[in-house]
């Protein structure tokens, strides 16, 4: 294995992890965002506290979570609390950063996780999506939002079909405050090909960093509006071997990063238990 042998999902997790600062409280959703949180804790942000909407605050991450309500989310937590308290704490401003995925995003970082209308509408959508979950709440009140999604033209759209989670709304100054929202809104969009930030004046998403081997024209072609590009466009470094190793140890059966099909590579429950225990991250508790 070397640092150039990695999947787009792995690159996305590693780029996301760098958006967290040490000592922050991160409100994490399930899947890749969570692995990014584990990774940050094992590298530059050992004092990061993860918070789960199920009510777990500051667990030690010794095994990967398959969902935000997996009992693993509660492993040696500093505080085992309630869903409503955690959302109250979110609204109080105690959480610095949240990570969200979406099916659609617009240039102001507004997100759709509810429905793709297609020829239809909200009541007869082409694709019904899961809904807000805690996404709207996080986008409304958390310090800043990091969005993780695949860079595809049908996802980066001029206007989202359904605005599930507010970004900068219409982008006018003070739009969030006028609506009554507390958090500072989206700060970064991490994709499988490039990293985007938001202009502090216009609130518009711009291309900040491109990943190794990706062409600017590919990125522009994957965005449904005339994308602005940083005057100081950067290229991301390759992931390090240490990062890739840590990532693969955190998700030893590759069930999160690799997805559902990886389950077929396991012979059964015995192998799964064995792999989990062999790769458990042991801190002295």
């Amino acid at each position: 294995m070397d640092g150039r042998n990695y999947t787009p999902a792995e690159m996305m997790a590693i780029m996301t992890c760098k958006e967290f600062k040490d000592w922050e409280n991160v409100f994490v959703g399930i899947g890749i965002p969570l692995v990014a949180g584990i990774l940050a804790k094992r590298f530059h942000a050992p004092h990061l506290s993860l918070v789960y909407e199920s009510g777990s605050i500051g667990p030690e991450k010794m095994r990967v979570d398959f969902n935000v309500g997996d009992s693993s989310a509660a492993d040696y937590a500093l505080s085992l609390s309630s869903e409503w308290h955690v959302f109250g704490d979110l609204q109080c401003g105690f959480y610095d950063v949240g990570v969200l995925g979406a099916a659609q995003i617009d240039r102001y970082g507004n997100l759709n996780t509810t429905a793709i209308f297609g020829e239809g509408d909200y009541y007869k959508p082409k694709v019904r999506l899961p809904g807000s979950g805690g996404g709207n709440d996080i986008g409304s009140s958390v310090g800043r939002v990091v969005v993780m999604m695949k860079l595809e033209r049908h996802r980066f759209v001029e206007k989202v079909d359904y605005l599930t989670t507010p970004g900068f709304l219409d982008g006018t100054p003070g739009a969030r405050e006028r609506a009554g929202l507390l958090g500072d809104g989206p700060s970064a969009v991490v994709t499988d090909k490039a990293l985007f930030y938001f202009d502090s004046e216009t609130r518009e998403m711009y291309l900040d960093t491109i990943y190794p081997g990706v062409k600017i024209d590919d990125v522009k072609a994957s965005v449904g509006w005339d994308l602005k590009i940083s005057k100081d466009l950067k290229t991301a470094p390759f992931p390090t071997e240490a990062e890739l190793n840590a990532l693969r140890t955190a998700d030893p059966a590759n069930l999160i990063m690799g997805g559902a099909r990886e389950r077929d590579n396991l012979s059964g429950i015995d192998e799964y238990v064995k792999i989990t225990l062999e790769n458990a991250y042991r801190k002295e508790i």
Binding site: Y52, G69, L80, Y122, V127, P130, G133, D137, S140
Partner: protein, 312 residues
């Protein structure tokens, strides 16, 4: 005006009953229900029994309940969902929910969108017996646009926009916990979701638990009793009642069993076969455990206890 007595079940020392009786008594056709836990501590055994008994026309008002809702929707038990999340993140909707919403198979379901914080506040309002709660969520979003039961006001103290959400008062709450006594004092370890509020908001509460313990055992750690007896109508001992979901301190998530479910349920036929095997083919939860295999369940307990133990 809600009569005081409408929320008070009879207080008595022994509320223990069978899962079959608790479900048939409290999950009647057309009722409004909710479930405890948050994926972990999901009421899977209760859901199997609801399906086994062929209960129809249920409204579920809940936060994120994908796994058990997929079963209930696929089995045709659900009329309406008021909630926040039905899905598997990037994967999208669960297989039966997708078929019901996109193709009306086995039947269409009504969906009303809320956020998780909104549902949490609706249960908090119910638990306090007040008609609404205020939240700063959903402002500026299309959730408001399509859900007219959310009222945006300028609050009378600060004059700023605020969303109001109405209380929930479901007919019954089913909550799975680690330990309860026969009177219904229920103790929870791990995150607690909205359970403490659901049992207070609901007209009736059924507690399923890993272990029924003595009141003396409960009294040793009263701080863990998030559900007091007076909220509870029935207590049922159902070990491994959350499988394949996890139960903190008792057993880990069965990721491979869930994987099989997803694969099998990707077709309607596969799902019906799955139901025949694990629900209709099992006369009760014990038979389900036999089918899953006690050795497998023990391994999940072993795995969990490498990470989480209950200190009490």
């Amino acid at each position: 005006m809600m009569s005081v007595s409408s929320k008070v079940g009879s207080n008595n020392a022994n509320k223990v009953m069978s899962l079959k009786d608790a479900v048939s008594k409290y999950a009647v056709d057309g009722s409004t229900i909710c479930f405890g836990g948050f994926i972990g501590r999901d009421c899977v055994a209760v859901v199997h029994e609801i399906i086994r008994q062929g209960i129809k026309g249920l409204t579920v008002i809940d936060d994120s309940k994908t796994d058990i809702m997929d079963l209930l929707v696929g089995a045709g038990c659900i009329k309406r969902w008021e909630g926040a999340y039905l899905g598997y993140g990037a994967i999208g909707l669960a297989p039966n929910i997708r078929r019901a919403v996109e193709k009306g198979v086995p039947q269409p379901i009504e969906v009303e969108d809320w956020s998780n914080a909104a549902i949490s506040m609706r249960y908090l309002a119910g638990a306090l017996n007040i008609p609404f709660m205020a939240t700063r969520s959903m402002l500026g979003s299309d959730i408001l646009k399509y859900n007219k039961r959310i009222k945006v006001i300028n609050d009378p103290y600060e004059g700023k926009p605020l969303a109001l959400v109405p209380a929930v008062r479901p007919d019954v709450a089913f909550i799975h916990v680690q330990r309860a006594d026969a009177m219904g004092n229920a103790q929870v370890w791990g995150f607690t979701g909205n359970d403490e509020n659901k049992v207070r908001a609901a007209k009736h509460t059924v507690i399923t638990c890993e272990e029924i313990v003595s009141p003396e055992e409960i009294r040793r750690n009263g701080n863990l009793t998030i559900i007091p007896f007076y909220c509870v109508d029935a207590v049922v001992q159902v070990p491994y009642g959350c499988h394949p979901q996890s139960c903190y301190g008792y057993y880990a998530y069965d990721v491979l069993f869930c994987g099989e479910y997803h694969k099998t349920s990707s077709t309607r036929e596969g799902f019906l076969k799955w139901l025949d095997t694990y629900v209709f083919g099992c006369e009760d939860h014990n038979a389900y455990c036999n089918k899953v295999g006690w050795s497998r369940l023990q391994k999940l307990t072993y795995l969990e206890r490498q990470f989480n133990r209950i200190h009490a």
